[in-house]
């Protein structure tokens, strides 16, 4: 699918004369602060040749960056692009020096790209060597390559400036980029490199996936892990170097990191994640470049990064999979569920102590004062929990004297919960060797997330027939206030007759 898009894009990009080249005034003009309607039209319909090239180039680059970035992110090397783009600098300077010394045009793009690629690949090799041969961690390897190579690059640039053809202006573009003045040649390079990256990622998708999630498993399956690692890192080199000279260092890092990190909030699956990351990258490129074309005082590289950041912030808050809002809501819902289950079980067990198996007793009214000491509820918390349970028709609340009782559905639910709790307690006592005095809490920690199948399994394990046993007797004394406050097992007497069953259902 990515290939189809690419073919389309290439066909658009390769026919510049067909669309006619107009002036580039919108990009250098400083006087206009708010774009006129005609400017909007020009940009939004891609009528302007220059902004068309810029938007196309950044979109493709964002797409490739998102795709490749997904893999490096999951590989735990999000800042690999950072290290590589810094590492390419000495190569650029050396290529210039050598080409100039050989009497060639030192500033020709292929020469500089070639130098950048070589030194980027050497940087990758050094990262791998440090990682595999020394006891330094990944982050230190990245930091070392980044700073030492960049230092060498700056030192070489210092020499470049002394040559006759010097004036490093052209080379500086590699560091800051010149997004707004991206030419067709740049766009073509971007499209070519992105095409290679997309194709390789599609072809090697399974292998890369395995490499990212479980390196040792991949190795045990006989995959050439080191080779795949080199292939993946070479893709990062390819994408960052074409991106570097077109859009600059920081934007390239951003395109490799941010879309992938944003996509992570939307899905847990690899394929959709790469797709989302690529799309986000492309959209950010388009919007950022378009905004920069509209507002002359907004540099396009920075605008693209900020659009990416906006997408990231949006995803971080609203992403359904790992977004903050979704997780908070899920946690809130779970907490409420747990509170309600605590309430129902508290009422049930309080009544059970003197109910002696009389079904009707479970629908008696209880005062809030008797319930409060059962758990560390504040009166407000308890009231709110009761209110919510009442909304769901599980309890009835009598305002007049602050008493609460279970409804018919409430008794059923409470019995079910209590039974589940005790089954779990029995399991922990019998199979996990947990002391009866402590088992209440351990069971409490886990019962709320039990699936029905697990409950059925527990029943089988404990050889209780579900038709006979409704709620097994509690394996420890139900002295909530005391037992929970002191947490000591000494006060608790254990009834051995856990297999006894009792008919408690209404």
């Amino acid at each position: 699918m990515g290939l189809v898009i690419l073919v389309l894009l290439i066909s658009v990009a390769s026919g510049p004369t067909a669309f006619g080249a107009e002036g580039t005034s919108t990009l250098t003009d400083r006087s206009v602060t708010w774009p006129t309607w005609s400017q909007w039209q020009r940009v939004l319909t891609f009528r302007d040749y220059n902004s068309r090239v810029v938007i196309l180039g950044t979109a493709v680059l964002g797409c490739a960056g998102g795709l490749v970035g997904s893999f490096t992110l999951l590989r735990g090397r999000a800042l690999l692009g950072d290290a590589i783009s810094h590492a390419s600098l000495p190569g650029i300077a050396l290529a210039f020096l050598i080409a100039s010394a050989a009497g060639l045009d030192g500033k020709s793009l292929p020469t500089l790209l070639f130098g950048a690629t070589i030194s980027g690949l050497i940087g990758v090799a050094v990262i791998l060597l440090i990682r595999n041969l020394t006891r330094l961690h990944e982050d230190a390897a990245l930091g070392i390559v980044l700073s030492v190579f960049f230092g060498a690059g700056i030192a070489l640039l210092g020499i470049v400036q002394q040559t006759q053809t010097g004036h490093a202006a052209g080379l500086e573009a590699f560091i800051y980029g010149k997004t707004a003045s991206m030419g067709l040649a740049d766009a073509k390079w971007i499209i070519a490199a992105s095409g290679v990256a997309v194709t390789l990622c599609v072809l090697l998708f399974k292998e890369f996936k395995l490499l990212c999630f479980d390196e040792s498993f991949a190795a045990s399956r006989g995959l050439p892990v080191l080779l795949l690692d080199i292939a993946l890192m070479s893709l990062v080199v390819a994408v960052s170097i074409v991106g570097l000279q077109a859009v600059g260092l920081v934007l390239m890092i951003a395109l490799l990191v941010i879309p992938a990190a944003a996509a992570r909030f939307w899905t847990q699956r690899m394929a959709p994640m790469t797709l989302i990351a690529a799309t986000l990258g492309a959209i950010s490129g388009i919007i950022g470049a378009a905004m920069s074309a509209l507002f002359s005082k907004l540099p396009s590289g920075a605008m693209i990064v900020l659009v990416c950041t906006a997408f990231f912030a949006f995803s971080m808050f609203l992403g359904p999979q790992k977004g903050i809002l979704g997780r908070t809501l899920r946690r809130l819902r779970l907490n409420r569920k747990i509170e309600r289950q605590h309430l129902l079980r508290a009422i049930y067990e309080t009544l059970e102590r003197d109910a002696s198996g009389v079904p009707d007793r479970f629908r008696e009214f209880l005062s809030m004062q008797t319930l409060l000491p059962v758990r560390s509820w504040t009166p407000r918390q308890l009231e709110r929990t009761i209110d919510r349970a009442q909304d769901d028709d599980l309890v009835r609340f009598r305002d007049r004297d602050q008493h609460v009782r279970l409804t018919r559905a409430g008794v059923n639910e409470a019995a079910r919960l209590t039974r589940q709790h005790r089954l779990w307690e029995l399991y922990l006592i019998n199979y996990a060797d947990i002391a009866p005095g402590r088992v209440d809490r351990d069971a409490d920690a886990i019962e709320h997330v039990l699936e029905p199948e697990v409950v059925a399994e527990l029943e089988d394990l404990l050889q209780h027939s579900p038709s006979r046993v409704q709620v097994p007797e509690s394996p420890h004394r139900l002295d909530h206030g005391g037992a929970e406050a002191t947490g000591s097992g000494a006060k608790i007497s254990v009834d051995d007759s856990v297999s006894d069953s009792r008919e408690t259902s209404p």
Partner: protein, 471 residues
């Protein structure tokens, strides 16, 4: 190449070197903890991210004076660390990614602000990021000690603050770097230490890159501590070594910046860049020649061990040959084929064995001498005892014990053998039915030193196994 060094002057080069050393040491002191906490790239992130701080400070104070700029940069630097931590926790994004998101976004924001300001003032991001250590002697400050470059004063203060922080909170830093949970139970918050460290990193980064450039900051935060980490296992020594390496790379960097280009007929080049490069050279040297963890040392140690194991195997092979067949001599070709090794290593091994008097050469075939026989006996005994132990005590399947025993046999000394012997009730036959040779008397007579045990594994399958498959 040395000639241009004669032009070194104290007034210029001396101050440049002092500024470089102060910056390198301030960064390296904190860098140790960044490397240990796996946050090596924080220096890079902070130096990129401070741009909006500079721009906003400029907008508010409407001047380029350094105090507001410094404050603005430090505040944003600290914010970088805070945002990174927040995104990492709240979004459960990995450290590197959240750092990448934060610093690129802040840098972009800063660029936009700078462009807005560009009409009024020249605030070149390039200048902000590279600094110019060469120009430090020109910007002077009159102090009680006379006229001193401003950068030197600032960096000296920063270095002293960092040093004081390290000395006063050494224990806390140490514990919270290695075990944050423990530090919390010991009554001091590892989070607080973490944030104080972040603030100091931001202050150091801003103070340094203002005068000496961000390359030097990033390099000195990571490279000398990483090199020191390769040279020692103790935190105190690591800090001391990283300081020394930082000083060496700063001094040699400046000299290199003058001398190296001169060798190719150019004038001097960027001092900060060369300081980073010489730190890199030191790191490479540490990685290669480090006494314990050095690549070369490990390589040599592994070769020697492989050779010792091959010697063991040659003896054991000849021994087993004598045990099962009438011939007790084997040619080099036979040995090489059965021990899965090349001609050269085998030649080395047999030479060593002959010098030790454990193998004698008879024409083209090798034969064990008495001392060689006892070495082989010990080894075969170890092997079969292990097999017996693995079957009897570890409950392993008979078919799967050979490789394990093969690996363990080379690291089994007399003491361990007698323990194995006791544990397996002194067997005479191994699980495959082969006789376990007796060695006790001879070995005790010679009072042999236990062999050095190293945790090195070898995967070659040899002797017993091959013999069995030949039969």
């Amino acid at each position: 190449m040395i000639e241009p060094l004669n032009t070194l002057t104290w007034e210029l080069d001396g101050w440049i070197i002092v500024a470089g050393v102060l910056c390198a040491v301030s960064c390296a002191l904190l860098g140790n903890f960044l490397v240990l906490r796996r946050m090596s790239l924080l220096g890079d992130a902070v130096t990129h991210a401070v741009l909006p701080g500079l721009a906003v400070a400029f907008f508010i104070s409407d001047s380029r004076s350094s105090v507001p700029m410094f404050l603005g940069a430090v505040i944003v630097g600290v914010l970088t660390a805070l945002f990174t931590e927040w995104i990492r926790r709240a979004g459960s994004v990995d450290e590197g990614a959240s750092m990448g998101v934060v610093f690129t976004s802040l840098f972009a924001l800063g660029l936009i602000l700078v462009v807005q300001a560009a009409d009024h003032v020249d605030l070149d991001p390039g200048c902000v990021l590279y600094g110019a250590i060469e120009l430090t002697p020109l910007d002077r400050l009159d102090t009680v000690f006379g006229s001193i470059p401003r950068a030197v004063v600032v960096l000296a203060v920063v270095m002293l603050v960092n040093l004081a922080f390290l000395l006063f909170f050494y224990k806390e830093l140490k514990v919270s770097s290695f075990d944050p949970g423990l530090s919390t139970t010991m009554g001091f918050s590892s989070t607080l230490i973490h944030y104080v460290l972040m603030v100091l990193v931001a202050v150091t980064a801003v103070a340094s890159f203002e005068s000496v450039g961000n390359i030097l900051v990033v390099a000195m935060f990571v490279v000398p501590p990483a090199a020191a980490f390769l040279l020692t296992d103790r935190l105190g020594r690591m800090i001391a070594i990283s300081t020394v390496l930082a000083i060496i790379s700063a001094v040699s960097g400046h000299i290199g910046a003058i001398a190296v280009p001169a060798g190719f007929g150019y004038r001097s080049t960027s001092t900060a860049g060369m300081m980073a490069v010489s730190a890199g050279v030191l790191l490479a040297a540490a990685a290669l020649f480090g006494p314990r963890h050095g690549i070369l040392v490990r390589l040599v140690r592994r070769r020697l061990l492989a050779l010792r194991i091959l010697c063991d195997d040659v003896c054991a092979y000849l021994f087993r040959l004598g045990e099962r067949q009438t011939v007790d001599a084997a040619g080099a070709g036979e040995l090489a084929a059965n021990l899965l090794t090349g001609k050269l290593p085998l030649h080395l091994a047999t030479t060593i064995l002959r010098i030790n008097g454990q193998v004698s050469r008879d024409g083209d075939s090798f034969r064990l001498t008495d001392s060689g026989r006892s070495r082989a006996q010990q080894l075969v005994r170890s092997h079969r005892l292990w097999e017996q132990y693995l079957v009897e005590r570890a409950g392993l399947d008979q078919e799967r014990i050979h490789d394990k025993a093969e690996r363990l046999e080379h690291f089994t000394d007399l003491e361990l053998r007698s323990r194995l012997d006791d544990e397996t009730d002194r067997p005479t036959l191994d699980p495959h039915g082969a006789e376990i040779p007796d060695e006790r008397v001879e070995a005790e007579d010679r009072g042999e030193e236990p062999a050095e045990a190293e945790s090195q594994n070898r995967n070659d399958r040899t002797s017993d196994d091959r013999m069995r498959s030949n039969e």
